[in-house]
Amino acid sequence: MNAFPRGSVGIALLLCASHVTATDLVLEVRDPKGAAVSDAVMYAQPLSGSSPSVRPKTRAIVDQVNKEFVPRVSIVQAGTEVFFPNSDNIRHSIYSFSSAKTFTTKLYSGREAAPVLFDKTGIVILGCNIHDTMVAWVFVVDTPWFARSGADGAGTIKGLPPGDYTITAAAPSLAGTAKSIAMTLRVEGTAPQRQSISLEAGS
C-alpha cells in the first residue's frame, strides 16, 4: 500500500500555492444614503468549487454585558461552537427559534454554560427570556472568508485565494430600511484589494 497517494501530494501543493498568492479584501459597507455601516457582515463564496471546511474546535464568543449581547452581530462558519459567557453575572436565558439553530441555554451567576454548536447555515436571532430587549444576530455561513465592519464601515476578509467570488453583505441593524446585497467579484494578485458595497434601500 502506498503511504503517500498521489492525490495528497497534489492537495499539499495546492494549499501552499493558495497560501502564497492569497490576498486581503477590504470591503467598505455604505447605507443607501452613503453613510458607513458598522456591524455589517460580509462573506465571500467561490463561484466554482467549495470553500475550505471549518477548522475543528473553532470557537466564537457572544458575551452578556449590561443586559446586551456583545457583540450584537457575529458571523461564523458552520461547524463553529459559540460560547456564551456572562459578564453580567446575573441570570440570562438565551434562546433562538431560528430554523438554522433552535436552542435555549440558561446562564447563571458564577456557572459556565456549555457552548452551542452552530452547524447549519442561515441567520440565528438570539433573544433572552428574562430581558426581552436583548437581541443579537449570528450569521452562519459555509465559508471561512468573512468579516464584520467596524465603525468606519470597513471589514477585511483575510487570505482570499485568487478567483471569482460571490460577495454578500448584510446589516441587521438596518433591517427594514436596507436590503442585503450580493455581488460577484474577481480577486487577483497579492496586494490588498478594496471594494465598496452600497446596500440598497428596501426591507
Binding site: F97, A100, S109, I123, N129, M134
Partner: protein
C-alpha cells in the same frame, strides 16, 4: 457549482429579512394555572387564580415602576416574572400547579438585593393582598411560606 449557487441564493434570501420579529417568536405559552382551585387549599382561600394573578401583577407593576425599588427590574420581561410568581404561589399553596421556573437563588444571584429592597417588596405585596380583600389568615399563611426565601434572595 450547482450546490454552491443554491447555498448562495438561499443565504441571500434569508439575509433579506433580519428583523427579530421574523425569527424570534415568543417562547411557548405557559400552561395557565387552574381557574377553579382545589377546595380548601390555601390557593382557594387566597381567592384562586383571579385574585392571585391580580395581586401578583399589581405588586410587580408597583415595584418595577418605583425608582426606590426597581433597580433589579431594569430591562426585565415583567410578564415572565409575573407568570413565574403566580405559578410558584399556585404550586406552594396547593393550587395544583407545577413550578417550572428557576430556583429563587438562581433568579436573584448577582442582583445584590438589599434587606430594605426585600422588605419593601413584602410591604407592597401585603398592601396589594389587602386591596384585593384576601382574608387575613390566608395573607399570613402565604407570607409565612414566602419568608424563608429571604436567604435565597438578598445579598447574593
Amino acid at each position: 457549482m450547482g450546490r454552491s449557487r443554491w447555498l448562495t441564493s438561499a443565504l441571500f434570501v434569508l439575509a433579506v429579512n433580519t428583523s427579530p420579529a421574523a425569527f424570534a417568536q415568543a417562547p411557548p405559552a405557559l400552561v395557565p394555572p387552574p381557574v377553579v382551585a382545589p377546595a380548601g387549599s390555601l390557593y382557594a382561600r387566597l381567592g384562586g387564580t383571579p385574585v392571585v394573578s391580580a395581586f401578583v401583577n399589581e405588586t410587580i407593576d408597583k415595584v418595577a415602576t418605583n425608582p426606590e425599588m426597581n433597580k433589579s427590574f431594569d430591562k426585565v420581561n415583567l410578564q415572565h416574572v409575573k407568570d413565574m410568581l403566580i405559578e410558584q404561589i399556585c404550586s406552594l399553596t396547593g393550587g395544583g400547579c407545577k413550578y417550572t421556573g428557576d430556583t429563587m437563588r438562581d433568579v436573584h444571584a448577582g442582583h445584590h438585593i438589599s434587606n430594605a429592597e426585600f422588605f419593601d417588596l413584602v410591604e407592597v405585596l401585603r398592601a396589594s393582598m389587602r386591596a384585593h380583600e384576601v382574608p387575613l389568615a390566608a395573607r399570613n399563611e402565604l407570607l409565612e411560606i414566602l419568608a424563608p426565601m429571604k436567604r435565597d434572595v438578598v445579598k447574593l
